[in-house]
Subunit: 432 residues, 2 copies
């Protein structure tokens, strides 16, 4: 891939960093080899690709810690409904009609939307996940796909075996932008027997696990009734929390759950918009942060959000806890930015490779255009990013040192075709 | 101004309307003379200005029912702070340094941001409000400015006299896009004597009143301690609620307050982002709607939001009450859209002129570009608008039949100069 240089940027290398004007980032074969003052940068190699970032903010790419990307196919099909009829009458019948190619195109639509919103990596769980992985490769984005495992499906064990085979093969084929995980849907949809197998196989093959945990109050009540413990404690008892686990939602936690999450390094993937929209409630994010837990941020799927905009998601995270706790200092802009970058990276076990802009990490980064009226005046760049910026301020997106979006135009992805394919398939799924 | 025709649009004439494809809107001298099926439209006059809206959604302009537009000057100056030091150490010292010209440029910056977000009318309260009104005229937007009246200022009575004079003069000079109101800040900053004068003068001159009511729990407690009644009941006792009143926030209401608001037609201006950010709490919007109260929607100022994006504000209104009430049907997308249009128009006493696209009303309307990935597929246009659309989807903005933004470019406002002037002034105010 050669050398890429981003010059003349306002750099925010991570949530803990001080903003640095006139900064330069250099990447060689996808890895950051210099990031800092332009005046102290190494000389420009003659064959380098140089991007001038005058008037722009350079940040680490946003990491969407929990989504079902192909569910863009169901965006706006059903809203403002109670959960049961929403699932049983709307979502599940449409999912029952899904073909593998639908997942491919739906995922690509999600990828197009995410790249435009500055997302350079996402954690996915869905049916036909090899198709989702193929879409990620074709879109150029970094992805952590997992196939959804549901214990009530007759072929659950076959799907697990296939998933493990796919993961092992992918890992064997060498480094790539795709890091697969295993995806048991949730404790209430996967019996212990299946979960134990997942845990054993994940441990054996060094794979992470992506699961939904403690999303609703009812789920926690049911777990206590059935197992005598909360979903988090139940997973700990099975030995899951010794592995790398990205746990979506973590809304209804006991004090002991919060401590357990912090102790075990569980990746708590906060999804504030989805938790509002489906009336799940307010996750204990301030408590998790205070306990030193790993907290990432995700959009969830487009059927329960209905967008994949991580800037907005970070804004939501910074706003709702203030209102709910009655504390205007709860979840600061800086904490929300940390969640959307390094926090999510840690939740996915990728913090050594992404989440901040540092020498030795992958060059996954985003340039935001600061020139528009809603971003002026500029007093505090983190505040501006979290409370005022829009997805459409994203000007350039780089993954693994490859420029995927430049001047808001895709260089790799055929957006028009993706929209046409995904939309046509979505209409057929909704109106068979 | 002549004849303006918008052709080939997907029309959503109001929150109660069924979407209509292939629609046409015609305006003559700023007033809508036809809106409906293109096939049944009157012939096109030869001198008409025709805008082709192929692939676009035509909606009534959004109405921001409560803001302090010039506070864009303080965007990002201080966030994540408790209210008292935020006001006393940050906002008030900067406001103390404001010059009239600062308010003019700060307001214009807010207008630029609002127009880009599809806002065609806003309800403003601020210092040097004649400068704010001048900015509205120069920007071309519809505005309801009021000068903030604070009882503790030594010149409060003089400011009231000046405000009345300005309002009367403006009304006398004939119809315009500016409808002034009187702006007593709040019951806790204005003694009864001043409020009684405001009420008398407003009644005499047929002026509306813009006030903050029941924003925080502390304000309500203080009112009950001091006056024996809630702020709403206190205003009712003074006779204010017989007039047209736009009451910002209305967060902490008793059951009796909710009934009183509905009975009197009080314009409750819901500001969900500000209420989250300042930790004021969750307004009883589902109860107000159920009681048949007038509920509009506002962004509040950019110091406590930090943007003036009404699409996002409507999304916030549709999301947070679901989470807080534990009810996924609370505040539907359609209700949020109604609040952001006709609800706000009613709260400002302008429902006979704006808030829906109907023959006889003013041609204040917005075209949104539906082509981008985050708005695909298209199943339910109201859901898409509230849960997925972005300010940057706004393509064209028309106020009073005049095209102010076209293809995301300003035709009247010099955005570059506005940004430069406002930003320079903001930096001087923050670092004197």
């Amino acid at each position: 891939m050669g050398v890429l240089r981003v010059t003349n940027a306002l750099l925010l290398a991570g949530a803990e960093s001080v903003p640095l004007p006139s900064a330069l980032l250099q990447a060689e074969d996808g890895v950051i080899t210099y990031v800092g003052r332009e005046s102290e940068a190494p000389p420009c190699p003659p064959d380098a690709e140089v991007l001038d970032a005058e008037g722009m903010l350079l940040i680490p790419g946003l990491v969407n810690a929990h989504t079902h990307a192909a569910m863009t196919l169901f965006r706006g099909v059903a809203d403002d409904m109670p959960l049961k009829p929403w699932l049983e009458e709307k979502i599940w019948p449409m999912e029952g009609r899904l073909a593998p190619e639908d997942v491919y195109w739906g995922t690509l639509l999600g990828i197009a939307e995410m790249l435009r919103a500055g997302v350079t990596c996402y954690n996915d769980m869905y049916h036909f996940f090899t198709e989702g992985a193929r879409a990620a490769v074709d879109g150029g984005i970094r992805a952590v796909p997992s196939g959804v495992l549901l214990g009530f499906l007759p072929n659950a064990e076959d799907l697990l075996a296939e998933a493990v085979e796919f993961c092992v093969e992918l890992v064997r084929s060498g480094p790539s932008r795709v890091t697969p995980m295993l995806g048991p849907h949730a404790p209430y949809t996967c019996p212990d027997l299946l979960l134990r197998k997942v845990i054993t196989l994940a441990g054996e093959h060094h794979l992470g696990i992506h699961i939904h945990l403690s999303e609703t109050a009812g789920e926690v009540e049911d777990s206590i009734r059935e197992h005598g413990v909360t979903p988090l404690q139940h997973m700990a008892d099975l030995g899951m929390l010794e592995l790398q686990v990205a746990a979506a939602h973590c809304v209804h936690l006991t004090d002991a759950d919060v401590a357990l999450a912090a102790e075990t390094g569980l990746g708590c993937c906060h999804c504030p918009t989805s938790n509002m929209k489906l009336a799940s409630g307010f996750a204990r994010v301030p408590d998790l942060l205070a306990a030193g837990a790993v907290v990432g941020l995700g959009t969830d799927g487009a059927a329960s959000n209905n967008n994949l905009d991580m800037i907005e998601e970070a804004r939501m995270a910074a706003l709702i806890h203030k209102g709910y706790r009655g504390d205007p200092t709860a979840v600061t802009a800086r904490q929300a930015f940390a969640m959307a970058t390094l926090g999510s990276a840690r939740a996915l076990g990728l913090a050594d490779r992404i989440g901040t802009l540092e020498v030795g990490k992958q060059a996954d980064c985003v340039l935001l255009d600061l020139s528009r009226a809603h971003l002026q005046p500029l007093h505090d760049i983190v505040s501006q990013l979290i409370y005022a910026a829009q997805a459409s301020d994203v000007h350039t997106v780089i993954v693994d040192g490859e420029v995927l979006l430049r001047d808001r135009r895709f260089l790799k992805l055929d957006e028009e075709r993706v929209i046409a394919e995904a939309s046509a398939r979505s209409l057929r799924l909704a109106h068979p």
